[in-house]
């Protein structure tokens, strides 16, 4: 039932099952967008009615961010129409001011409030500061107006407070109210919330959701982007689910269930041509034992890795999956528990010590934490091993170059040459350099955080090959990924994290991606500790 509209390549418009009598607050028709050869949006259509809270869901790279960027006028679409009320605009060139004039309002993931400034200043910053004859700001008027707005939106707070002193939900509310402040008629407006709860602790989420419900009941149309399925179940009147640039299902309120959402997000077209690591072949003692470590976001995490085993970690943003990797790499200390590496209890004061013990870490944000920009492929690939070329007071440059060229060939790194700037390489080839930098010498434990993020499909396979090579040489691999299909293709088993705990373990990942997705989203014990 839910999936009947899936895979509509023609770009037809899946409609809501029961379009209400009222005219749509916003109607998007046949929206298309390509980035180079990648089609991010293959023609999607949807509408939101006044007073409706519509959830927009989908995995990474499904196209929902692109959709929102086009609506906000941040990027131009390739084709499509956007109708707001009676006005229709061409999706190819939406100006941000135009979107605003039409009554479209956006609040993004990290509520962009200025923490050191008062609520009144934050609100005025989204609109204007009333000025006196000499151009000086009339502060009394700023405060008065801000208080009126806060009252109108039933935000119970003192607008002279610094925003940082508000509870997190209220800070997010200030961002929402700031976006809505100049709208006199909510039923003519559309609020787009882009993962508004991602940065909020669990106990704050319901406060925010209640407010959103309240505004919707006054006629505001809300397009609500989220990863948290419980929120969709709680507040959405309808759900639009995207995958690979298409809308895969459009669900009415009574059709929204965990399973129908997950099915829409994951789909069922999984290519299972790759051979996964055979778990039975991994004999012997565990190489890595993590025994009940707690601290930071982690609480009581225990697991073991065998030599050469590739284990996946699945979990939502803020579930503690990245924290676990960072903790094992010595970046954040743990307060309780023990880590045993190759028979020895270890504790690291920093990455340097972790590296010395044979641990490597490939961070999630390649540009920010891994790539040495303006330096060559050669320098990037030998950054960890530089010291080994330093013999008798001299860097063995020729030897280094030869090794680099060998590695480039072995791992299929495509570059104009070893002296080319790293920035000249494609994302996938840069990522290969980041991984090969470590696996070129024997390791005990390789920690990978989203190793295929921003990498095209072809390079993905080569990255998996590189990871498999490392594992075949006896390195244990712990790999975090939001792409569950990917985990099921590479890992011998998958640990599921939620709220800083390991909540389950999928021993036979080949069975079902849906099963894994359900495990990640399932509400259960461990959730109360979520303080993302």
């Amino acid at each position: 039932m839910a999936n009947e509209l899936a895979q509509d390549q023609s770009g037809g418009s899946p409609r809501r099952p029961n379009p209400g009598p009222a005219a749509a607050a916003i109607e998007v028709e046949d929206l298309r967008k390509s980035y180079g050869a990648t089609e991010a949006l293959k023609g999607i259509s949807f509408q939101v009615e006044p007073g409706e809270i519509q959830a927009l869901l989908g995995g990474n790279g499904c196209g929902k961010s692109t959709t929102i960027k086009i609506l906000a006028g941040v990027v131009g679409g390739d084709a499509g129409r956007i109708r707001v009320g009676e006005k229709e605009i061409d999706a190819r060139h939406v100006a941000p001011s135009q979107a605003r004039a039409l009554g479209l309002r956006f609040v993004h993931q990290q509520p962009a409030v200025f923490p050191m400034q008062s609520v009144a200043e934050n609100i005025a910053l989204g609109y204007e500061f009333p000025r006196g004859p000499l151009g000086t700001i009339r502060w009394r008027q700023v405060r008065k107006r801000a208080q009126e707005i806060a009252d109108r939106f039933e935000l119970d707070l003192d607008v002279t407070q610094p925003t940082a002193t508000l509870r997190p939900a209220n800070q997010a509310m200030v961002a929402i109210v700031r976006a809505l402040q100049d709208l006199d008629e909510l039923h003519r407006a559309v609020l787009v919330l882009d993962e508004p709860t991602a940065a909020l602790p669990n106990e704050e989420v319901s406060t925010l959701l209640d407010a959103v419900k309240k505004y919707a009941s006054q006629g505001l149309a809300v397009l609500f982007v989220t990863h948290r399925l419980e929120e969709v179940l709680e507040i959405a009147h309808s759900a639009t689910v995207m995958r690979d640039g298409l809308i895969t299902s459009v669900l009415g309120q009574d059709e929204i269930t965990h399973d129908s959402l997950v099915e829409g997000i994951v789909g069922s077209t999984v290519d299972r041509t790759r051979s996964r690591q055979n778990r039975a072949s991994l004999e012997g003692e565990p190489l890595v034992s993590v025994k009940g470590i707690s601290g930071g976001r982690l609480s009581d995490v225990s697991f073991e890795l065998r030599k050469g085993e590739i284990v996946g970690i699945a979990g939502l943003l803020g579930s503690g999956r990245s924290s676990l990797l960072r903790t094992l790499f010595g970046l954040t200390p743990w307060s309780e528990g023990e880590v045993v590496l190759d028979g020895e209890s270890v504790r690291f004061g920093g990455p340097k010590e972790a590296i010395r013990s044979g641990i490597a870490y490939v961070p999630e944000d390649r540009a920010k934490d891994a790539v040495f920009n303006r330096m060559s492929v050669n320098e990037n690939i030998s950054m960890v091993t530089t010291g080994e070329y330093w013999r008798a007071g001299w860097m063995r440059g020729r030897e280094e170059k030869r090794d680099t060229q060998g590695l480039m060939e072995r791992f299929g790194i495509k570059a104009p040459g070893d002296a080319a700037a790293i920035g000249a390489l494609s994302g996938g080839n840069q990522q290969k350099v980041m991984i090969v930098r470590w696996i070129r010498k024997p390791l005990k434990l390789l920690l990978l955080d989203e190793p295929t993020q921003g990498v095209d499909v072809g390079a993905r396979t080569e990255i998996f090959d590189a990871i498999n090579q490392a594992a075949a040489e006896g390195t244990s691999v712990l790999m975090v990924s939001s792409e569950y299909e990917e985990l099921t293709l590479v890992c011998s088993r998958i640990l599921v994290m939620r709220g800083g705990r390991l909540v389950s373990e999928v021993l036979d990942p080949s069975s079902d991606v849906l099963e894994l997705e359900r495990a990640v989203h399932r509400k259960g014990e461990g959730d109360e500790a979520t303080n993302d």
């Binding site: 790499f329 920093g350 990455p351 340097k352 590296i355 010395r356 870490y361 961070p363 920010k368 934490d369 891994a370 790539v371 040495f372 920009n373 303006r374 330096m375 320098e379 950054m383 960890v384 530089t386 010291g387 070329y389 330093w390 007071g393 001299w394 860097m395 440059g397 104009p416 080319a420 700037a421 920035g423 000249a424 930098r437």
Partner: protein, 319 residues
């Protein structure tokens, strides 16, 4: 990928420009008789030796992403104390040791501030520079120290080896040393890594604090040595000299990214930039341009230098 010839052209554009300027000043009426003479060229080269060593001092922390503004003042302080020690009868090697020691102490001071407080160097080293200038004035009362400098020292400063000024030979030796440090030691590689991405540097196990610390200590010692060399060049210690070093030295360090290895601060580029500025200033001076013109030239060079290094660096990031 751009054509190889274009790359070479870019790397040596400034060198070519020096040649063009030299040629111009050799045939341009007002300077044709003065510029291409051996004595003028000797002075030109010898004069740049000290500034070049100061520029090397600024270069090392600059590569790691830190702007060291006290290298000029440090060299000035060192020159005063070396001159004073020499005129007090201290043996030459010991006096040079005094200069190096002062440079080292200032370098450690800067290094401690930057690594323990974890601040960017630009403002604290401006503070250091001001403090050092104050110490110089306190020590000299604003008067130059020129008496009783041993002739062995002044001979070194004005003499030549095979027609090449000895100070220039010294400069080349220092440049080779710094080149070795940057290109043939892991420390050099780590300095570039710090200048590129500190977060990534930490995550590949580079010791951030130690690397930064070293860069300031090296800068300090080089500046101290530049001070001793200045005494030999000038035959004494002049309290105003430190300030006059700062700007051209920094300008040359920034401009170094515009030649030899475009997009990257480097030793060869620093020397090219030094002589680019020297030929330009020297020619203008001989042509009868007023003294303030050199300020205009050096100031512009600093702006052009930082602009070019930013633009070329960005391009190197993607091409």
């Amino acid at each position: 990928m751009r054509h190889r010839l274009v790359e070479i052209g870019e790397a040596y554009a400034l060198v070519g420009l020096i040649g063009v300027m030299a040629l111009f000043f050799s045939i341009y009426g007002p300077t044709a008789d003065l510029f291409p003479t051996t004595s003028n060229l000797k002075v030109l080269v010898a004069q740049q030796a000290v500034i070049a060593v100061v520029a090397m001092a600024a270069l090392v922390p600059l590569i790691a992403g830190e702007w060291e503004l006290s290298v000029g003042a440090n060299a000035g302080l060192s020159s005063i104390f070396v001159a004073s020690a020499l005129s007090g009868g201290m043996p030459v090697p010991l006096a040079i040791g005094v200069g190096l020691g002062i440079g080292l102490a200032v370098g450690v001071f800067n290094a401690l501030i930057v690594t323990t407080l974890r601040v960017e160097a630009v403002i604290p080293t401006l503070g250091t520079a001001t403090i050092l200038t104050g110490i110089v004035t306190a020590k000299t009362g604003g008067l130059a120290i020129v008496s009783d400098i041993p002739t062995s020292v002044t001979d070194f400063g004005s003499g030549t080896w095979a027609g090449i000024p000895r100070t220039a030979v010294t400069m080349v030796a220092v440049a080779l040393l710094v080149y070795y440090l940057l290109a043939y030691t892991p420390l050099g590689r780590y300095l570039y890594a710090l200048g590129s991405n500190r977060s990534a540097a930490t995550l590949v196990g580079i010791n951030l604090r130690w690397t930064l610390f070293s860069s300031f200590v090296i800068a300090g010692v080089l500046a101290g040595f530049a001070g001793a060399l200045q005494v030999a060049r000038a035959g004494g210690g002049n309290p105003g000299v430190g300030e006059s070093f700062t700007l051209p030295a920094l300008a040359a360090a920034f401009l170094s990214a515009a030649s030899i290895k475009p997009g990257r601060y480097n030793v060869g580029g620093t020397l090219v930039a030094i002589f680019f500025l020297a030929v330009l200033n020297n020619g203008l001076n001989l042509a009868g341009a007023p003294n303030y013109v050199s300020d205009l030239v050096n100031g512009s060079a600093l702006i052009v230098g930082i602009g070019l290094s930013a633009v070329l660096g960005r391009r190197r990031a993607t091409a």
